[in-house]
């Protein structure tokens, strides 16, 4: 049996067609695609970083793969770059999945970033690629992909991260999930027009996680809350300070709208 005629191409009710056409015309804002990519790169890098706390070789592969990919060098760096990722991804804890998925926004535009992939087309073969967080946890990763998951190169964190026990890792992930959840909540409240409630959640966030991994996101949101309260001068001042402190953060481009305000 053939499909029925589509409403848009039928000579049905004019209002029906008008309404359908109006949905069909919905288009993303002009800068959405570029902004989305900047954040997506950060997310991929975040996934890579979080992977470093997972003790399995497969997760290590994810870190390497993710980082190599984020560096735009997966093609040059070896076989099955993408092929290793799904298995590794499945091994990540459910909490981590929540952090990545539900907190996609929070983590997504996260405090973690990798030097922009597009800026360096070639990854230094044996030397380290630096992945950085606001806690100044810097994890050095070999760019080479392992031929077998078992032969994944050792990760050598230069903070005390590497000395943590698995339970410390777990605690760290739990903290990150909790931090991410609060940030997501504050963001939703701001979007819902409740800047006061968002401000309260941000205060809680600040008290509970003064040195949280998502401090950059907290600051970005705090600036947005200031602007929502009509406090343009303070928003501008903090946006400028942020950009000066983190010129390469994907958030800086986003915040320039406050800093450049007339």
């Amino acid at each position: 049996m053939a499909d029925p005629e589509r409403l848009l191409s039928s000579d049905s009710n004019e209002l029906e067609r008008e309404l359908l056409a109006s949905i069909q015309r919905m288009e993303p804002p002009a800068d959405a695609q570029a902004e989305g990519w900047a954040r997506l790169s950060a997310q991929i890098a975040t996934a890579a970083l979080i992977g470093t706390t997972h003790g399995t070789a497969a997760a290590a592969s994810a870190v390497h793969t993710g980082t190599a990919a984020a560096q735009g060098a997966a093609a040059a760096s070896g076989p099955s770059a993408m092929g290793l990722v799904p298995a590794a991804f499945k091994l990540l804890s459910s909490k981590l999945a929540v952090a990545l998925a539900v907190g996609g926004v929070a983590i997504g535009a996260s405090a973690v970033w990798v030097q922009e992939a597009r800026k360096s087309a070639v990854v230094p073969p044996a030397s380290a690629v630096s992945t950085k967080t606001t806690e100044a946890v810097s994890v050095h990763l070999s760019a080479a992909l392992p031929a077998e998951p078992d032969s994944a190169p050792q990760l050598t964190p230069d903070s005390d991260l590497g000395k943590q026990s698995p339970s410390a890792d777990q605690r760290r992930r739990d903290k990150l999930s909790a931090e991410s959840a609060l940030l997501t909540q504050a963001r939703a409240q701001l979007r819902n027009g409740d800047a006061d409630a968002a401000q309260q959640v941000l205060s809680t966030l600040h008290k509970k996680f003064p040195k949280g991994m998502l401090r950059q996101e907290r600051e970005v949101l705090a600036i947005e809350v200031l602007a929502a309260h009509g406090n343009k001068d303070a928003a501008e001042q903090r946006a400028r300070a942020f950009i000066a402190a983190h010129p390469e953060s994907p958030h800086s481009a986003q915040l320039s709208r406050f800093a450049d305000a007339p």
């Binding site: 499909d3 959405a32 989305g36 996934a47 735009g72 093609a75 092929g83 990722v85 997504g108």
Partner: protein, 183 residues
């Protein structure tokens, strides 16, 4: 797409499908301020699952499947449910547009009205409606994507169309009533 997909290739995939994913999410009920966040979630999932894509469907169809799951989770979340439930009131407001919405363009108003109507459809009907009427996919392709029979697709489409028309009639009636009161 091979399992050796590199980052530049993924960037190309992103660039080629960003608009499509963005539009799909909007049509599936994601509110505008949230679309970019969810589009990222779709692409992040795609990034990690790309090697599972076996080329049995168009890559856009595969991405739509991911977008559909992401949008479904979004609509299920308690926070959004509360927001969506206000759409009824919003719809009444849109219907009496000549007064309150005089500053808003007709096109924008129509888009909002259409969105509110779609928001009232059950998710399963909405998905079929969007795929058939707006993405112009065939009944068979929709059935394959959603893993249901073509008969189910047709019946969901029929129900969705009935509801869509019903809401439009209601909207017109409220609008006509509003005009009388305004006179």
């Amino acid at each position: 797409m091979s399992s050796n997909t590199s980052h530049p290739e993924f960037r190309a995939l992103y660039d080629a499908h960003f608009d499509f994913v963005w539009r799909s999410l909007r049509r599936l009920g994601v509110r505008e301020p949230d679309v970019l966040d969810l589009a990222q979630k779709v692409f992040l999932t795609a990034y990690f699952k790309l090697s599972e894509f076996e080329g049995r469907s168009l890559i856009s169809t595969w991405l739509f499947g991911i977008a559909q799951r992401v949008a479904s989770d979004y609509r299920r979340s308690a926070f959004i449910r509360r927001e969506v439930s206000t759409d009824n009131a919003e719809l009444e407001g849109i219907a009496t547009w000549h007064e309150d919405f005089s500053a808003e363009s007709d096109a924008r108003r129509r888009a909002r009205a259409a969105e509110s109507i779609l928001n009232k459809l059950p998710e399963s009907q909405r998905t079929v409606f969007v795929l058939f009427e707006l993405e112009e996919m065939s009944g068979q392709d929709i059935a394959t994507l959603l893993n249901v029979s073509v008969g189910t697709v047709r019946s969901r489409l029929r129900l969705a169309r009935d509801a869509f028309r019903r809401e439009i009639k209601r909207l017109s009636a409220i609008d006509a009533g509003g005009r009388k009161e305004a006179v």
